[in-house]
Subunit: 154 residues, 2 copies
C-alpha cells in the first residue's frame, strides 16, 4: 500500500466535496464523536444542530477535530483530519450578517437530515425546531490517501 | 423524521457488523479522530495499528470514544457512539494469550488495509511492520436510528 499526504489544494478540494464529517469534542479528557452534516467555506466548516451534548461540550471547550473520509475500498481511501475551533453563531442582532451567511452556505446543499432542519420525533416527542448555527475555524488540515500499488501488493 | 434509540440487542448486532469506526482520543483538551478497522468481540473492540499519534495519545489518556455508522441516505441512517477505555495488548510473554486472542479475532475479517498489516510506503519510505494490538473496553453504548415517516415528512 502506498500512503501519500494530500497537498493543500487536494485537501481543500476534498473538503469542498465533503457532506458528512465526524465531529469530535472533549470534556475532562473524555472525547465524544458524532457524525454531522457540514459545508466547508472559506476557512470554516459550517454546521447546524439542535441543543444537546455536543453543543454543551463545545461551548465549554472549543477545541474540536473533524474527520472526513471516502473509503471506497481497503485499497482506495482518503481521510482528512481537521483541527479547529468551535465558534457559535448566536441568534443576536449583532450576528445577523454571520447567521445569514451561514444559512446561505448551508442551504446550498441538500443536508436536511439533521434534527436541526426537519420535524423530528425523538422517542415519541416532537423536538422543537430551533436550529443553532456554528462553524469550525480551521486551524490545521492533515490529509492522507492510500492506494494499492503493484510493488506494495502482498 | 423519526429518531429512535437502539436497544441493547440492536446495538450489539450493529457493532458486530461494523468493520470501520472513527476513533477519538484527546490530549490537553484537544480531541483527535481517525478512521480505524475494528472487530467487536465480547465487550471489547479489537484493533491493530502502528505506532503514531493516536497510540501516543491513548497511552497518555485511555479515555476514548468510537463512532460507527451506516448512512444509507438522509432518511435512513444509524449511528452508534461507544465510550470506552484504551487497553494496549503488549508484546510480552505474560500477554501472549491476549495477543493470540486479539490476532484470531482480527484475522476473522478482511481488514488488511491498515498500515499495521500490509507493506506500506509512507512518503516514499517503507514503514516497518510491527503491528501493535489494542482493544477498547466498552463502557457505554448509545445508538440511534433515523427514518423518514409519512407523518414527519415535510
Amino acid at each position: 500500500m502506498l500512503i501519500t499526504d494530500l497537498d493543500e489544494s487536494e485537501s481543500l478540494a476534498f473538503m469542498a466535496r465533503a457532506r458528512v464529517a465526524r465531529l469530535a469534542c472533549a470534556r475532562d479528557g473524555q472525547p465524544y464523536v458524532v457524525p454531522i452534516s457540514c459545508v466547508c467555506h472559506d476557512g470554516y466548516v459550517y454546521c447546524a444542530s439542535t441543543e444537546g451534548k455536543k453543543i454543551d461540550w463545545m461551548r465549554a471547550n472549543p477545541l474540536v477535530c473533524l474527520e472526513m473520509d471516502e473509503i471506497h475500498s481497503p485499497q482506495d481511501w482518503t481521510s482528512l483530519v481537521v483541527e479547529g475551533r468551535f465558534e457559535e453563531i448566536p441568534n443576536d442582532p449583532e450576528w445577523e450578517g454571520e447567521r445569514k451567511l451561514a444559512w446561505s452556505i448551508i442551504q446550498q446543499r441538500p443536508i436536511w437530515w439533521e434534527p436541526a432542519y426537519v420535524q423530528t420525533i425523538v422517542e415519541r416527542t416532537e423536538k422543537e425546531l430551533h436550529p443553532l448555527f456554528f462553524r469550525i475555524r480551521i486551524v490545521r488540515i492533515s490529509g492522507r490517501r492510500g492506494v494499492q500499488t503493484a510493488s506494495a501488493r502482498k
